[in-house]
Symmetry: C2
Subunit: 369 residues, 2 copies
């Protein structure tokens, strides 16, 4: 994997870049649609390509439980399994094991947990997490980490971050000989010195990219922004910077402004399934009765398949009836919006007017309801 | 609407034909995918076109409840509402009102029922059923009928069939001035003389096409085949013949052999959502663990998107995980199979070797499990 910064916004930290992988080029800043269990819910690989998705995310935790990473390996890897030929980033499983599974014990070895699917006893450790990701054959792997919840005491966070650093070393060891890239994850909750310590230790170990973890886990928006704004510019200049699990369109704009290159979040896909749709004028909830006979598209400014072909009235009807097509058309729209948002930011940065673009974005982006 | 018989199979009743409507041509025999509430579940209009669907069915009962036929009319009709430009046939609401709603009273005026959605009190009558279909703007409307369940006494069936004839007259009256075609529905359960009486009365009234109703409602396969085989050839030669709500691939083959031109059924779409998939060698259930690591497509002989791109192993995984993409990919496959089946029958009839084709079909079509 190669990474190159292509342009930087005048006074700020925002930047465009290019990640080159054996499976294709990724223009940064980029948003990665989440394909939890080997599919971006309701969307075909061809549609993802049509949306301009350059990289998607697969969840190590989900895939190791179902269908099982060894099975995926026997079937030729995740790309072949799900019919997606462009790059895939797999997460470490750290976030899901702490949010979905029943944790039995966090020990030096790793995390002992019970599957939320069948209750089976499992161990997720630097070695197993990287082993799973090697079986999946992703283009970018994440080192195994502890994702701390919020709030957390300074004492616990300090213990945890030291363990995450030791796990990062072991993750790197476990990745030896693989041609898959490996990113490190900076932990440390909302404590600046812990984040700083973790970052320095990870740089010392050396990774292909650096991520900020444990954001959007319960802390306030201000705290999240503070961590992102302080930490992102400190991540190595010559490697991709990735903020995990974030966030709203506004979060992405602020992340890009802070110098972040990569994002993933279930928000566009999950919100779509709940009828919450993003537009350049703010969000709208399609179940609102105001749209019952509205012949206009979700967003007149949007060029997605859903907006080109269907009215708010029809989409509201599909949503009210819980029709399968509802989830799909809404998801197509929201993903298009997120990917288009990233494209517009890349353009603005390259043109050297990101700050101006950002001001305009906020002026128009106000809630429609 | 114009209908023309193009070719007939040598000794039998099977025939090919062409229905011409303002919205396009329909090659018969044809299968109509069911778009219950304004969408074929999970499938976009473009995909339907890609599958070669020439006409789809919309349900009067569902659409009058949600979003409401007057609303659809204000939004420009069902075609515009759902983004489907080819022909649509709407049913009479008769079958659904008897199978889904709480019937309060069947009277001469019509059927008083309570909506299964919100419990509201409604009347479905020849005038309201046709009025709804006029609001929806379908290309082919069905006259309002009573769909008798099975078993039913001769006495009740006789009363019912006479009422259905009176309703058919009123339906025709209600359709006056419309450029939408109107089909009559032959009722009479499993009683030959009642079916015959109904058929003659409907021909007397005069319709653009003739359907056989109340099949596949609980009677045995033999009884169904007997009604279909006896009745279909008696329906007017120069009008489309339509068997409603039928059936399995075998039922379609037998229907075509009896001289039927049109079919609709939820089987390909509903079965797909339950993981039951049709192949040229029989059906398979994708949840079977035998497919867990099977890299082959559902049917190596099939040219559908699902079979061209995805393995049984992946489709099984999606089904087990209840992924939205599962329902969609399975539905695409089953609809492709049904439409391909009709296409192969049209070819065989036109080539004059339908009986030979049918023998070959049955030889290969045996259950895989």
């Amino acid at each position: 994997m190669k990474f190159q910064v292509l342009s930087k916004d005048g006074g700020g930290n925002a930047r465009t870049g290019r990640i080159e992988t054996a499976r294709g080029t990724i223009d940064t800043p980029i948003f990665m649609p989440v394909g939890t269990a080997g599919s971006v819910k309701g969307i075909s690989p061809d549609e993802l390509e049509g949306l301009g998705a350059q990289i998607i995310l697969g969840n190590t935790y989900h895939l190791c439980l179902r269908p099982g990473d060894e099975r995926v390996a026997r079937l030729g890897g995740l790309h072949k399994f799900m019919g997606w030929e462009r790059p895939i980033l797999t997460d470490s499983g750290g976030f899901q094991v702490f949010s979905l599974a029943r944790i039995n014990k966090i020990e030096e070895e790793g995390v002992r947990f019970q599957s939320h699917i069948d209750g089976s006893h499992r161990l997720l450790s630097p070695e197993t997490a990287v082993g799973i990701q090697r079986n999946l054959g992703s283009d970018i792997m994440m080192s195994f980490d502890e994702c701390t919840s919020y709030p957390v005491t300074y004492e616990y966070a300090a213990e945890s971050v030291k363990r995450t650093i030791r796990w990062a070393k072991r993750s790197k060891e476990a990745a030896k000989g693989s041609d898959q890239a490996l990113f490190g994850i900076v932990q440390g909750s909302v404590f600046p010195d812990l984040r700083q310590m973790c970052l320095e230790a990870l740089v010392q170990i050396g990774f292909d990219g650096y991520a900020i973890g444990s954001l959007s886990v319960g802390e306030s928006k201000e705290q999240m922004m503070e961590v992102m704004n302080r930490l992102a510019p400190l991540l190595p200049e010559n490697a991709p910077r990735y903020v995990m699990g974030v966030g709203t369109p506004e979060d992405l704009v602020e992340g890009v402004r802070a110098g972040v290159d990569m994002f993933d979040c279930v928000m566009p896909t999950r919100n779509a399934r709940n009828g919450s749709l993003f537009t350049w004028q703010g969000t709208l909830n399609i179940k609102n009765s105001a749209y019952a006979e509205d012949p206009s598209p979700i967003d007149p400014e949007c060029g997605c398949y859903t907006c080109r072909r269907f009215s708010r009235a029809y989409l509201r009807h599909l949503y009210i009836c819980r029709e399968l097509l509802s989830y799909r058309l809404n998801t197509l729209h929201n993903l298009y919006f997120y990917l288009e948002l990233m494209g517009r930011m890349r353009e603005a940065i390259a043109a050297g007017n990101f700050e101006l673009w950002r001001e305009g974005f906020y002026k128009r982006m106000k809630s429609m309801e």
